[in-house]
Amino acid sequence: MDRLVFLLGTGLARGAVLALFALALVLIWRGARVVNFAQGAMAVVSTYVAFEVTSLTGSYWLGLLAALLAGGLLGFAVERGVMRFASPASPLSGVILAIGLVMVLQSALGILFGPDYRPMRVPFDDRAIVVGGVPLLSPYDLFVLVVAVVVMGALAVLFRWTSLGLQMRAAAFAPEVSRLLGVRVSRTVTVGWVLSSVVGSLAALLLVPTSLGLNPHATDSLFVLGFTVAVVGGLDSPVGALVGGVVVGVAMSLVTGYLGAGLVPIAVLVLLVLVLLLRPAGLFAAAEARRA
């Protein structure tokens, strides 16, 4: 029983980060109908920015701020500089451009910073609070959870109640009609990319300190897991990303704890196949999106 509680706690903390990353994928999907395969690589670039700024200034928070800014700029640059070449008629051209971008960013980081893992610090105590002999969440895990929920809430407000959010949704679903109605579709797409890149950077920044450390490949597995979460929750649904994140995080933790770490990638694959075959639009998709 103790063990189960422990594994659930671990899974929850990991799930929150996955949920944030998946949210970044959802944002772009909603904004531009693209699955951004470069999300992980872009986020790792921002994390390097955070690392450098924190090393220079000694402040975690300045590093965080710099990473979010860098993430936003990168999102803008990628949308204007690379993704605009994607053929509007083809979902594949976007995927292929993003793959090219992954290769460019990761190799550039490798050339600039070398292959070594760099340790990253966290602003809170990351030692678990022990309850009844079972190590539960650490203050840092709680921080991650709070950040995830706050970001999620802020985005919900944006999409539901602000004019910009409504325009973004309209532009993504019916670009032609939106344009006729006066929505500046290209601007809303850019905003979507910037937002998504910021959120993705935040997720990577929260995850990296709990893993091996910062490396050009630090987000490789985060992308696949984040994609799985987004698919499980539905690429259209921010709430789905949150729930999907928790589901995948806890499932991973249980598989590792009871079956062995080596089975995690297989479990992810099985989960992905099941969801795609049984409920392709995810568990929380709006009805009209189901044909995706």
Binding site: S90, P91, G100, V104, S221, V268, A292
Partner: protein, 364 residues
């Protein structure tokens, strides 16, 4: 796709076979002109060509993008190696049986993936196939009694057959075998695409609803296309295993899968010639860059080695997608078209499928 006299790829079977035979003879003759290392590179190009030809047919003719072809190659490689080790006899019969087993294994896995693929559109399929490649090392270590974890499966060394030993060096022999197998695969794909099935694939790709209305079983066409593509990749993996005498999960990484996509895109999506050119590029470019960086100071060389090749591939991918979506093949054809060409009727020189990247349901 209207107003065309002949559909892309359509041509009489006999002609296809003759052309393939001619090509094979030329390539086999070419192996005599190459030194061992370049014969090894030729064998690599041939093995990669199996996979890239399969991938390009899949993308070009059905609009499905797989990021998992490296895993399918691995399946073929494992099928080949395990069968080869289990067989009580050696030589050509063992090779052929093992090769067929590798093809069969990749067909089964491809069929399963294809069943999923037929229901998924572009990005979903790409993500699913990506997860397949990521899971490969886990599969190998979970069933390590058979697959031997990250060490992979080794096969016994088999040299040049006695009859040829005086004339042919080992690497040349391997290149020859690779060339023959690859030409069979490529011919098979060409025939498949040039026939009725090819028309069905195009119909499904261009307008699935219309295709269904005309009585084409769209789902089945997609599944079959994916399976055929998998078999091609699997045979490529078997050839690689034959050349390197080993198959292991570390050789079939996400990076390699992406490299196959680079080859197909750079060569020109949908074009088998493009796939061949792309395969040459992904074999020669890292080698060339390695040669260039070798003379740099150790520290710089260490940083650039490997990374620089990936950087160039990434830039190539973006540039080609942005500037010349038809890739090398498209560029070749376009250049040639500016000159009058009396000997060849225009339609055959058309860049393979014109509408390579097609909208799927959700865009409509």
């Amino acid at each position: 796709m209207t107003g065309r006299q002949r559909l892309p790829g359509q041509r009489p079977l006999l002609r296809t076979l003759l052309v393939a035979a001619g090509w094979t003879v030329v390539a086999l003759g070419g192996t005599f002109a190459l030194d061992p290392f370049r014969n090894y590179q030729l064998a690599l190009v041939a093995a990669y060509l199996c996979a890239t030809a399969g991938l390009t047919v899949l993308v070009g003719a059905t609009g499905q993008l797989s990021l998992g072809h490296a895993a399918l190659m691995a399946v073929g490689g494992y099928g080949f190696a395990l069968t080869r080790n289990a067989l009580p006899f050696d030589g050509l019969p063992a090779f052929v049986v093992a090769l067929l087993a590798g093809a069969l294994a990749s067909a089964v896995v491809g069929l399963l993936l294809g069943l999923a693929a037929a229901r998924l559109s572009g990005p979903y399929l790409a993500g699913l196939t990506l997860a397949v490649v990521i899971a490969l090392p886990a599969v190998a270590s979970t069933w390590s009694t058979v697959l031997h974890g990250d060490q992979g499966v080794h096969i016994a060394f088999e040299g040049v057959p006695d009859a040829l030993r005086r004339v042919v060096a080992l690497e040349q022999w391997q290149a020859m075998v690779a060339v023959v197998v690859t030409s069979a695969v490529v011919t098979g794909l060409t025939v498949l695409r040039g026939g009725r099935f090819g028309l069905r694939m195009l119909a499904v790709r261009d307008d699935e609803v219309a295709a269904r209305l005309s009585g084409i079983p769209a789902g089945r066409v997609k599944v079959l296309a994916f399976t055929a593509s998998s078999v091609a990749a699997g045979v490529g993996g078997a050839v690689l295993c034959f050349v390197a005498q080993t198959v292991s999960p570390g050789a079939y990484t996400v990076g390699f899968s992406l490299l196959l996509v680079v080859a197909v895109v750079v060569g020109g999506l949908g074009s088998i010639l493009g796939a061949a050119l792309g395969s040459v590029v992904i074999v020669l470019l890292p080698w060339l860059i390695g040669r260039l960086t070798a003379n740099l100071p150790a520290d710089a060389a260490q940083r650039l080695d490997g990374n620089l090749a990936v950087l160039v591939f990434g830039l190539l991918l973006i540039t080609v997608m942005a500037v010349a979506p038809h890739g090398l093949h498209g560029a070749l054809v376009a250049r040639r078209r500016r000159r009058p060409s009396p000997d060849v009727p225009r339609p055959t020189a058309e860049p393979a499928p014109r509408k390579v990247l097609v909208p799927t349901e959700e865009q409509r």
